[in-house]
């Protein structure tokens, strides 16, 4: 499963642009160049796809949950804000 990724000098150069590319902020010119490359380079295509998926997985499992009620009421107490502690 392991092999080095230097069959084309291009692959290495593109590494630095990966973040901008997956964030959609890579300059048009560079973006086209990168897309041309990955259309011909299986490994780079995989790196792009799995990086996107990695970010997606972390984003989707990052909870937006509320803090536990006990934590909230202790927070209000520690700030002497009990009088404002109404249930949400």
């Amino acid at each position: 499963m392991k092999h080095t990724h230097n069959h084309q000098g291009n692959c290495r150069d593109l590494l630095g642009q990966l973040s901008d590319y997956v964030d959609g902020v890579l300059q048009d010119e560079l973006c086209m160049e990168l897309e041309r490359h990955i259309s011909e380079c299986k490994n780079c295509q995989i790196v792009v796809d799995t990086m996107k998926k990695t970010i997606y997985l972390y984003h989707s499992t990052s909870s937006n949950g509320e803090i536990p009620a006990g934590v909230r009421s202790r927070l209000f107490s520690s700030l002497n804000l009990e009088e404002f502690l109404k249930p949400e």
């Binding site: 990724h5 799995t50 997985l57 984003h59 927070l75 209000f76």
Partner: protein, 196 residues
């Protein structure tokens, strides 16, 4: 939560009701980020309280150049790091292993994107995801947590961490590359077990 209506002026003059509204508006994000950095609920709760105490003390000096949200992230990260330093003082002397160096080599070229969501987000996988972030060098971890997990922009992340945007981008790329390698190792093994 409607945070657009918070009045910085009222906060600065010590309006306690307004401060309570600020606490309610931002306590979730502060607690969440502390929990991600520290991985322990009691520690996260301590940091939550310390963050708003610190905020209360330094409101008068807050000029509103960044958003209240970013300002609180910054305080929370600092409080969390101070707690880590107290718990493990030795970390301070051990520099992060070449977090900024540019010698990254890709090794994993397994395409695991096709794994079903049930496999990608199984309970076991989620434990692995959390551990992989915890294993990142601290410099990379903080950037990744704020940018990719909390969803801050590059600019907001740079303000929250007191870093240049270039440094944020460099660290973010390294964090993403490292995690991608880790996840490829993990999911690659699962892929082998899948019957196609």
């Amino acid at each position: 939560m409607d945070v657009g209506e918070l009045s910085l002026e009222a906060l600065k003059t010590g309006d306690r009701a307004e401060f309570a509204r600020m606490v309610d508006a931002y306590s979730n994000q502060v607690y969440r980020v502390a929990l991600k950095i520290l991985g322990d609920e009691q520690d996260a709760e301590d940091v939550l309280q310390d963050t708003f105490l610190k905020a209360l003390q330094s409101l008068s000096a807050f000029e509103g150049r960044s958003s209240i949200s970013t300002w609180l992230y910054r305080i929370a990260v600092n409080e969390a790091l101070m707690l880590l330093r107290r718990q493990k003082p030795e970390i301070q002397v051990v520099p992060d292993e070449q977090a900024d160096e540019d010698d990254f080599t890709l090794v994993q070229f397994v395409d695991w994107c096709c794994l079903p969501e049930s496999e990608l987000l199984s309970t076991e996988a989620q434990v692995y995801l959390e551990q992989a972030v915890r294993d990142l060098p601290e410099k990379l971890r903080l950037v990744f947590i704020l940018r990719d997990m909390e969803g801050l922009s590059i600019h907001e992340t740079s303000e929250a961490l007191g870093l240049s945007e270039t440094a944020v981008k460099t660290r973010l790329l390294r964090a993403r590359l490292k995690l991608r390698e880790q996840l490829s190792t993990y999911y690659g093994e699962r892929l082998g077990k899948e019957k196609v």
